[in-house]
Symmetry: C2
Subunit: 136 residues, 2 copies
């Protein structure tokens, strides 16, 4: 994400203080923040930033492929800045923490043509669930 702002400027993005702050928040610790958490952290640096702007900016970053949306619990969506390296997620059923993991092999290989029902399958999302060491 380091030169994210330059990439976005190159794509015609108007770089504003709000967008920069949101990008910097995501660029920090690689945790999976909710939109409200992003808003809270952004507001520490830019107190008057609005929720709507955070939602808009996150949506744009997702549309541009710079950030991934993850919804593992049916509650708030989370935003994953690790978008350029394909990976899956490992979720603790106890505390809800999420880790990025990289399974071996081609995940599409497990779905034989007979089970595709004529679909053009292009993407696979895998969520591994279990208990983390602390919760076990």
């Amino acid at each position: 994400m380091s030169d994210l702002l330059e990439r976005l400027r190159g794509r015609g993005w108007r770089v504003t203080s709000q967008r920069r702050v949101v990008a910097e928040v995501l660029d920090g610790d690689h945790v999976h923040l909710t939109a409200d958490e992003v808003h809270a952290r952004a507001a520490q640096r830019l107190p008057e930033i609005s929720r709507a702007t955070v939602y808009n900016t996150l949506g744009e970053l997702v549309a541009l492929g710079e950030v991934l949306e993850v919804s593992t619990d049916g509650r708030a969506k989370r935003y994953d800045p690790n978008a350029h390296r394909p990976h899956q997620h490992l979720v603790c059923s106890g505390c809800g923490t999420i880790r990025d993991v990289r399974p071996t092999g081609d995940p599409l290989a497990g779905l034989p043509a007979r089970e595709r029902f004529g679909f053009t399958v292009s993407e696979v999302q895998i969520t591994y669930r279990g208990l983390c060491p602390a919760c076990a």
Copy 2:
């Protein structure tokens, strides 16, 4: 799901007309209905059934392992009556229809110990996305 009500009675469930109607709705076409769709179909048979009751009943069926909750789009949860046969889901990015599919092999095998970070992994949810024949 055929003798579902008997199983539930055996577990101490009080069988009411509302619960029977909800179970019958799920037992119909094996589509993946939202809670509101379940409510609408139930209301055709039992006009005064309340939303809260439908939500309660669905939640109980999930807790008892008779029905699965599926949230593929971050919108409303869907309810899958095919709970006794392990399967995954194939979702059309165009129209949103969901098909049950059965991948080959053990889905847990793809995650080597090194990528488990000490977690006790017990469950794998896979969502295949693509376009169905009609949307392609």
